[in-house]
Symmetry: C2
Subunit: 465 residues, 2 copies
């Protein structure tokens, strides 16, 4: 069993080079101008899957999808061995120097023990950890301990249309004994964690229109409802003074955590607080009353304004009274909240509070995804815990995470067990400028991934004896 | 006297060509990248002043100013004749195709009886009307009826720093018997009007900052006050539910118009309403209760949001919880409101309502300018009324305008009489996309300007007899 880990250690410098090659491809899935780059990355990944000895590697273009899935398979472990589906995504969020990057967002740069690049933690670290773990296993005398489906998505940051269609139409191609969603972060550099809950998400745009065109604020100012003002007035009515979402019905379906779970989660709140102080560092805490930081992230839904736009906001001043204004809005959801129902509630609320002096419209952007809640005592969860303990030297804590992985819900339906394994750190600035990983993150990720697959192989074999 | 008007009619095609040449120079004074263009336009104007026979033409760079003044003088009417200062501005607001222009904003295009170009009405129409009226007078056997100071500003849209400094430091160079501010619009194509009041203005930016950096809305959403939300909440507290500005003290210094003036202004409300329906065309009227449309424009101060910006507002979605948010805000002021005091009141109000969960700061952008109120029965006002009646065939109505001309207040201090003569139409979309004039606007403007100067000359001469 040590052969795969020796191989990984020996080839670590090349693994790092290949990781950087992938990082240099700007796989921004939300912006059409990057489509060629996303395709190029998919082809690059499929080539590497073939090179490491997988049985097949396909670049799959689904009808209605914008970017391809990459699916590699290896069934050399035999029919009696379990099949493990490894999922990660190779697309990234937009990034530009003017957002505050200290170096080119698509050129990996090492500084002070970290590697900076868009996608470094979210989620090419995970793509490469799984791919290079597989290479290490397949290159070793024992070969792979389990059969593998390596499924890499190119639309995780933009609605996951292709993978949803693929899983709806060909569920047998995904069906496996165990699914691993490889994405996310651990609690702290010295404290690994296993995520057993993810929030869902639904995204939308609020459009407010007033006059028939942009107007001179001198000639018409004071005679009509400025759309920027009206937008602000609508947005200001989405939370109450205490920070609760004030959309009627918003919390109706939320399943409250019991006292035992909240007591267990208290362990991870200390880390969340530390993280908050170090990374968020806002002037003061704010959020739903009655919950601590970890609970606000893991147990509670949110409504966030992700963008505001309208009128003139360049240098100097333009005395325009603009025709329109727009806000980007998203809700993070917790178990039992339905993305469509939440959108409908918001749409009704916006319609109810939009004054007759403007036209307001809330538009859903993506299909949305519900939250996920995983069993904490499954075979896969135990193998994952052992893998973290092996790679970090410390047993992981169990944690509810605040992010969303759209595919989770569908994967749970076609795989018996599911675990989420993230190798990033929370100060990795995913989605922000200067996204980064620690220089040893890839090596740790490869090690944990190898150990996990070996563990799953051993667990299933022991059961068969 | 008809010689100058004959000359103007004869040379109208060339006047139009020269107007278009000036329109093609993108004299955007608020954006540094256009500085070279603003300078080029200033030199072009000074050359034309010399070409038409003015005694002198200077391009004046004031310390601290960003763009030059152009000052042309002609004193050929003799010491006994009055001196008239003609003021207009040659700089323009920013413009870009993506704002909704149907053609290149800096290429004049004629369509359906109108000429479209940024600056066409605001205010190169006025620059060229005065300049070509002077050419016509100086080229005629009688010569100019009055001495002339033609002062053209390049910073009217960006704070008027140079002209303020010039007038503070060398008031004698501006001092005249009569000042004409040539800018603005008449009530309707068939109804000229004389503006006797202008609103002042003060401009500012509201900055709201929250976390130390952009964050992932999954990892931190729900634990801190989103700066976009906080900005919207602050902006929403600047007006009450009825549309009044809710900043304490905002209306304290406003001089209320008496019943007689409101009765007289009722004439122009019909035009303002028609204009509102045709150009603004918002779903419903909105504004300070107790005032009609013309009064809301002419008698009442405003607080407008001119821009909102923050987070991600491009195509698709970015689940960012942003570090900062910004709003551009301006107030239009009426007589006795002091720009600095109004800014101070807003700053205090923003400080009072900014929650401790974010940092909020209101920054003044420009010095601001107070409102202006002019006598309606002066010699200059009577000459202006006669000039409009001559050029339009209809006597003008008296009107309070909603726009601001920063230089007005200072000019009133060094000139005995002041009038405002605008030749544009209110559907000319000043400051918006598809800014335009009617194709006969320049000719009408030249005619009115010739008639006015001849009228002033005659009035002063008759007094001396």
């Amino acid at each position: 069993m040590n052969d795969a880990r020796s191989y990984a250690r020996e080839h670590a410098p090349r693994f790092r080079q290949q990781y950087e090659t992938l990082l240099r491809i700007p796989t921004v899935s939300t912006l059409p101008q990057y489509s060629g780059d996303v395709e190029r990355a998919a082809q690059w990944l499929a080539r590497d899957m073939r090179a490491i000895g997988m049985d097949s590697a396909e670049v799959l273009h689904l009808p209605g999808g914008r970017h391809p899935l990459v699916l590699g398979e290896w069934h050399g472990a035999g029919e009696s061995a379990p099949t493990v589906l490894l999922y990660a995504h190779y697309d990234v969020q937009p990034a530009a120097m003017e957002d505050g990057w200290d170096s080119d967002p698509f050129e990996p740069v090492e500084r002070d023990g970290r590697l900076y690049c868009r996608g470094s933690v979210d989620s090419k670290l995970h793509v490469m950890s799984q791919l290079k773990a597989l290479e290490s296993l397949l290159a070793s005398p024992g070969g792979g301990p389990v059969n593998i489906k390596l499924l890499l998505e190119g639309e995780e940051e933009s609605g996951s249309e292709s993978i949803s269609a693929f899983m709806a139409q060909q569920p047998q191609r995904v069906r496996s004994d165990v699914a691993v969603i490889s994405d996310g972060v651990v609690l702290a550099p010295q404290q690994p964690s296993l995520v057993y809950a993810l929030r869902g998400i639904v995204t939308m745009e609020l459009h407010v229109e007033g006059p028939a065109q942009d107007l001179h604020s001198g000639h018409f100012g004071g005679t009509l409802h400025n759309p920027l003002q009206a937008l602000a007035e609508i947005v200001a009515q989405l939370h109450d003074a205490d920070g609760r979402v004030s959309v009627p019905g918003f919390y109706d379906d939320v399943v409250e955590a019991d006292a035992a779970e909240r007591a267990q989660l208290a362990h991870s709140n200390a880390w969340s607080e530390r993280d908050w102080e170090a990374v968020a560092a806002a002037p003061l805490h704010y959020g739903e009353p009655g919950f601590n930081t970890q609970e606000r992230i893991g147990l509670r839904p949110t409504l966030e304004i992700n963008g505001l736009n309208g009128g003139y906001s360049g240098p100097g001043f333009k005395t325009v009274l603009p025709q329109r204004a727009m806000a980007k809005i998203s809700c993070r959801l917790v178990p039992q909240q339905d993305p469509q129902r939440i959108f409908d509630l918001l749409q009704q609320h916006v319609a109810a509070i939009t004054p007759p002096t403007v036209r307001g419209e809330l538009r859903q952007l993506e299909m949305g995804s519900p939250a996920a809640l995983l069993g904490r005592d499954t075979r896969a969860m135990r193998a994952a815990a052992a893998a973290y303990e092996h790679a970090w030297g410390v047993a992981p804590l169990f944690e509810r995470a605040g992010g969303s992985i759209p595919v989770t819900y569908a994967l749970q339906e076609v795989c018996e067990e599911l675990v989420i394994m993230g190798f990033g750190y929370r100060d990795g600035r995913a989605h922000g400028p200067n996204e980064n990983v620690h220089v040893d993150s890839l090596e740790r990720g490869v090690n944990a991934a190898i150990h996990f697959l070996q563990g799953i192989g051993a667990t299933y074999n022991s059961l068969q004896v």
